[in-house]
């Protein structure tokens, strides 16, 4: 299969890329690793006039800490997050989620930013940034704009990014309290999209939950932030009853559809199980981080 013809540019700098995008707008498509976009180009679901390849640009990679933020460059590859051993404890969800993305070969080329902008409701990073309550930093020639993860995903393959913007960073507030996360995924086989996956994040303060985040994958038109479930945990001691309550509320927030991967009822119940399981792991990791 061949993509339809397009003009190809590989700008050397972000400013050059933003300049091109400002001229081209909707006619151009930005590509990072290309692991979602190239299949779409081959199927001709996407036929941009110009492809702006930012995957060869320097910078925008790796995890760094400054001014109370932990920043992940948008061009950081899945494999680099999967293998990172020096992440702060509060980001324990990242290597776990990365490990389950597609297959090892795709992870060698695909990027976290590309995946988030692709906004497939079955994508894993969407749920991770929702659970982490991350900020997504977008740049255009006009400047920088911060979009909260909760406002980013607007529909299947549709985001709050404007046609002239490029996602440059994913930012999380550095936590001074014990925090941890977990990502659980059910897939039929390696490389398949999730039947269901769930990311959870907790922060503890004096034995009580001070922050909670829950993101759901493959059970709706976008990755879903299970807000009611998150709120139910905050201020409470994370005992079995609190965990069961959050799991029930998250399952209610899911909007699964019956398909080849399972019935809607089955998927909803997996959400419940994964929230429960994920919370227990995340709590253990948060306590470990304190010790």
């Amino acid at each position: 299969m061949f993509p339809a013809a397009f003009d190809y540019r590989a700008p050397a700098s972000l400013d050059e890329a933003l300049g091109l995008l400002a001229q081209q707008g909707d006619a151009a498509k930005v590509m990072a690793g290309g692991q979602s976009l190239i299949p779409l180009l081959k199927l001709r679901f996407a036929q941009p006039g110009m492809l702006i390849d930012i995957g060869r640009m320097r910078g925008l990679t790796g995890v760094s800490r400054n001014n109370g933020w932990i920043t992940i460059g948008a061009l950081t590859r899945h494999v680099d997050l999967e293998r990172s051993r020096d992440l702060p404890g509060q980001l324990s969800m990242l290597p776990e989620a990365a490990h389950w993305i597609a297959d090892p070969l795709v992870r060698n080329q695909g990027t976290i930013g590309g995946s988030i902008c692709h906004a497939d409701p079955s994508g894993d990073w969407g749920s991770v940034v929702l659970a982490l309550d991350a900020d997504l930093v977008a740049r255009s020639v006009k400047g920088e704009r911060v979009i909260h993860a909760a406002d980013f995903f607007q529909g299947p393959f549709t985001t709050a990014l404007r046609p002239d913007e490029i996602l440059t960073e994913i930012r999380v507030t550095a936590s001074s309290k014990p925090a941890g996360g977990a990502y659980n995924k059910l897939e039929r086989k390696v490389g398949d999209f999730a039947t269901v996956a769930v990311g959870v994040q907790v922060e503890l303060d004096g034995g009580k939950v001070s922050k909670a985040g829950i993101g759901l994958t493959s059970v709706g038109a976008t990755n879903i932030k299970a807000t009611a479930a998150e709120k139910s945990l905050v201020g409470r001691e994370p005992n079995d009853a609190a965990i069961a309550e959050a799991a029930r509320l998250a399952a209610e927030a899911a909007e699964p559809k019956t398909d080849v991967r399972g019935s809607a009822e089955f998927k909803r119940d997996i959400v419940r199980v994964f929230v429960q399981r994920g919370l227990k792991t995340a709590l253990a990791r948060a306590k470990e981080a304190r010790a």
Partner: protein, 169 residues
Amino acid sequence: MKVSMKVNGVERGGDIEPRVLLVDFLRTNLAQTGTHIGCDTTSCGACTVLLDGEPVKSCTLLAVQVDGRNITTVEGLASGSTLSPMQAGFHEEHGLQCGFCTPGMMLVGTALLERNPDPTEDEIRWAISGNICRCTGYMNIVKAIQHAAKAQAAAQAKISETVAVAGGE
């Protein structure tokens, strides 16, 4: 658009359309047909090549994307008529039947041992999890990679021994 890349250590290039996939560039322009096209949908791994030493799917890369980079295909594994340890492992352990997935499997195995010379069976199975074989049931592919790991470790030990002896003299 002009591209140039190193394929198995040799500078190769050409003037190609940006929409040409790396796998097609290798097979059609360079007549290197060891890189196979299987599913053409990023699922099977038959088109695996090493990009700067790391396995990727060449059906999901544009040739222009790898301008200036190093590509290793299955044609680059042997030195002359001597099989690489990975190829020898597949030969010894009967790691193939039809052979269609074999270039990808051997390249993934080669990259794995480069990073992790002594992988567990679980690590081997995880490494090849993006490559589909429809003949062997994977048992012998795993054994082949284990064979290569042992052969490489033995060769390494021999080199160390020789160096130690030479140092002693």
